[in-house]
């Protein structure tokens, strides 16, 4: 394994386009990271609290797993436990086979990569399509992901264009918008046809049995809403006890991962489609995967289970920047991967990864949970040298070195030998340009200094030097800079509008009575003819809908027939062609420009997902400053009471190709909010 690792490292270092891609990743990601955290007061306090939550959860994992499972079952979710990868695959395959599935649409999930789910499904003749843009690209290329957040990080747009030309038959174009449009078309059909949707889970919330997915493109919402079967696969450690804890994690995860205050979509799933709801899967399954995690929880590297998979440690790692993700040869690359890969998949095959680090600590510094990755790496190295065969020369050298160093006279003798040895080698300006193997690895790119004939200790045998009186202190210890003060409290509504427009949404403020006129005017401007809309709701929405009908707009029935069959397929095809969606929102969050859009009776989820334009009526009175404010004032009950609920922040987006932001991938490209006074 380590020989293959060296070979992959060399290949990566000598690959010029990979080097360009990795440099860009490091630079852009860290710039975005800095900006995202600058908007947050008390970062250290947040990190500390997040760490405590994760630690507490892990320390009581059995208890929380049991409660979580109970809540899921109460919510109507079918729960399966898998001890290892094989068992998890068998469970997923048997669920899909029992329903006669031929096509599975997958959203991005590292856990499914970890267990090799695609392979298992394909083995039984089920087609699997990755629907995250980055994953889709690497799947077309037959490659594994190169990064846990941005799978195609190793590719330049030219590479992607060539792949699309070859695999999709699309005309060669390096225009990122063109490429995204092509993918949109291909994948839209997959979403509509797939019988089973597979997703991962970012967090499981114990108190409500919520499955939380944090996504941007909209594909995660598609695969958890459209197919009649949804299978979610999650590691057993991915729990947080309460929705408050989740809100805390949501402040850190998107910022750390992509430099966003929040992602376009945070999907909170409580259960399958309920009576009266127009859409949503008939069955939801959760596979809780151990695969070595519980054993790790009782090992010296347990702390690495606190990880929330944001990938920040990869972006900041100077080693990752040189070698990229594939060189690691594991689903989990980078600093965290060099700890969890040996932890989950075995020391003998992956322990050597821990040696590919200078222990510079940049990973720990950037980690939102403050995981002490350098110490974790050191512990893996310790276990690796103890438990796997090491080069005998290395072991001997280390023992010899220790033997010399614990005796001052042997140490001095070694210094003398070093000094004589230095004199035997060719010198250049007092340094050694070449050393014999194995030290020639050093001098391939560096000169080495010579040993001194008279070491420092030999020069300074006298014990005490200096006797002058103390200088008076010239400066007091510098106080650490306090974090920038929180911005002045301001009008919550204004803030909401500003944040929404910042992330590409449109904000329109009007009197409740003017709403029908406003909506009609906008729809005309956008040449909208057909709509999906929420059914009977609050009066303002009803008034708009009645008016739209009067004006001759076609409002389609959003109700999806359950199960499968031609009726359902036809309805889906019709809904897929609609020009716009109209929904309400039960709350807005000013800090991030977020809309709270729940599922429910007459509340089509597809209205905010399938059409290219999403119009939202938001009463001004339900806008809160922060997510926590909303949670405290009824939000928690609202979440627990729905089968699923989306926090929508602006249009659907992706940056999977060269980190070039593109709006409107699978979900709406326009989000227009009518804020009603």
């Amino acid at each position: 394994m380590r020989i293959r690792f060296r070979r992959r490292v060399r290949a990566a270092i000598t690959n010029p386009s990979l080097q360009v891609a990795l440099d860009r990743n490091a630079e852009r990601r860290m710039a975005a990271w800095n900006e995202a955290f600058a908007s947050l007061p008390d970062v250290e306090d947040l990190r500390q609290r997040a760490r405590e939550v994760r630690q507490h959860t892990l320390e009581n994992l059995d208890h929380y797993l049991e409660r979580f499972t109970r809540r899921l079952v109460e919510n109507g979710v079918r729960v399966h436990r898998a001890d290892d990868a094989d068992e998890a695959c068998r469970l997923a395959v048997s669920i899909a086979q029992a329903r006669g599935a031929t096509l599975v649409a997958k959203s991005k999930s590292m856990t499914t990569d970890e267990i090799g789910l695609n392979y298992a499904l394909q083995q039984v003749g089920i087609r699997v399509v990755e629907t995250d843009l980055g994953e889709f690209i690497v799947q077309l290329r037959g490659e594994p992901s190169a990064h846990i957040i941005t799978p195609a990080v190793h590719l330049l747009r030219e590479d992607v264009a060539a792949t699309f030309e070859r695999e999709l038959g699309m005309p060669y174009s390096t225009d990122v918008e063109d490429m995204n449009a092509a993918v949109h078309k291909v994948l839209r059909e997959i979403f509509l046809e797939a019988q089973v949707g597979v997703s991962g889970v970012n967090f499981g919330v114990v108190e409500t049995g919520t499955l939380c997915l944090v996504t941007n493109e909209g594909n995660g919402r598609m695969v958890t809403t459209l197919p009649s079967i949804h299978i979610a696969i999650m590691g057993v450690e991915r729990l947080v006890p309460t929705l408050d804890d989740l809100a805390l994690m949501l402040q850190l995860l998107p910022r750390s991962a992509t430099g966003q205050k929040i992602t376009s979509y945070v999907t909170l799933i409580q259960g399958p489609r309920r009576e009266g709801e127009p859409d949503g899967p008939d069955e939801r399954h959760v596979i809780l995967l151990d695969n070595g995690r519980l054993a790790m929880a009782n090992s010296p590297i347990a702390e690495s289970l606190l990880c929330i998979r944001c990938g920040a440690c990869l972006n900041v790692c100077p080693v990752f920047r040189e070698i990229g993700g594939h060189a690691y040869g594991s689903v989990y690359p980078g600093p965290i991967g060099s700890v969890v890969s040996p932890g989950l998949f075995g020391l003998s095959d992956f322990g050597h990864l821990a040696k590919a680090s200078t222990l510079c600590g940049a990973c720990q510094e950037v980690c939102p949970i403050g995981i002490d990755l350098p110490t974790m790496l050191l512990r893996v190295r310790d276990a690796y040298t103890k438990n796997t065969p090491q080069p005998p020369a290395m072991r001997l050298a280390m023992s010899l070195y220790a033997w010399l160093m614990i005796s001052p006279w042997r140490y001095r003798l070694a210094q003398r030998l070093g000094a004589w040895g230095s004199r035997l080698l060719p010198r250049q300006a007092g340094w050694l340009p070449t050393l014999p193997p194995p030290l020639s690895a050093w001098t391939a790119s560096r000169h080495f200094p010579t040993f001194a004939f008279q070491p420092f200790l030999a020069r300074r045998k006298k014990l005490n030097y200096g006797a002058k009186p103390m200088l008076t202190p010239q400066r007091q210890k510098r106080e650490t800079e306090p974090f920038a003060k929180r911005p002045q409290s301001e009008d919550v509504v204004e803030r909401f509008g500003r944040e929404l427009e910042d992330i590409g949404g449109t904000f329109i403020r009007c009197k409740e009575g003017e709403a029908p006129d406003q909506v009609v005017a906008h729809l005309r401007k956008l040449s909208v003819k057909t709509l999906i809309a929420w059914g009977e709701q609050q009066p303002s929405l009803n008034a708009v809908i009645h008016r739209l009908k009067d004006e001759g707009f076609e409002i389609l029935d959003p109700d999806l027939p359950r199960g499968s069959g031609p009726g359902r397929d036809q309805r889906l095809a019709d809904l897929g062609r609609v020009d716009a969606g109209l929904t309400g929102a039960i709350a807005g969050v000013a800090e991030t420009g977020t809309l709270v859009v729940p599922a429910g009776r007459n509340r089509s989820q597809l209205a905010s997902l399938l059409p290219p334009v999403h119009l939202v009526l938001l009463p001004v009175g339900v806008i809160y400053q922060t997510m926590a404010d909303w949670m405290a004032e009824g939000g928690e009950e609202a979440i627990a009471g729905t089968s699923s609920l989306n926090l929508i922040s602006g249009p659907s987006r992706t940056a999977d190709i060269e980190m070039t932001l593109t709006i409107g991938v699978h979900g709406p490209g326009q989000v227009i909010v009518f804020c009603l006074d």
Partner: protein, 245 residues
Amino acid sequence: MIGTIQLFVTCLIDSLFPEIGEAVVEVLTRAGVQVAIPQEQTCCGQPAFNAGYRDQARKMARHTIEVLDDTVGPVVVPSGSCAAMIRHGYLELFADDPTWLLRANALAERTYELSEFLVDQLGVVDLGASFIGRLAYHPSCHLLRELGVDHQPLDLLEGVAMAQVHRLEPECCGFGGVFAVDQPEISTEMLKRKLAEINQSGAGVVVGCDVSCLMHIEGGLRHIGSSVRCAHLAQVLAGREATLR
């Protein structure tokens, strides 16, 4: 008031760069403390610890603790990573050995990196040094992130008359101990990045608080035929010749 400090000079300075040790003594005495130099000291054991050979590292750690246990007063180390080894690494090494952990803790509590000691403990920032030209300061990783020492060396450099100081990005130079020979390709690429940044800074001298990193950087500078040299902070503060050797 601090009377006498114990200088743990580090094996690299002792064996390869004794001139830096001289400069350290000069700086400390100029700051008004007495410098004691325990003669039995050798290596702190960090290379073995970092390579995963903990049994060997523990032997060297015990030796270092024993040598310094016999002394009183602060222990000053002119190296961020060796100071970090004593302050943090030893606690990890003896986590399961209460007797030695107690001794390691006692030593950790009185151990300081040189610039940290000068600025935070003595309150000294101006040692009367001067340097004509541009200095690039390399914030070494263990100093910066394990010890949290960043402004102290910069404060001291601010006190150097006529010097123009430029702080390099806090990015690893690629040394990493055994890493430099175990993963020479990656190490070299990281070094190249650092050398390019140094070249761009226009500095004639790279100054830092970790001899291991400086030895790595200067080795790279010499390999590519650059005339830029490295110097330990103490050399600049002592007004000595600004080069490692």
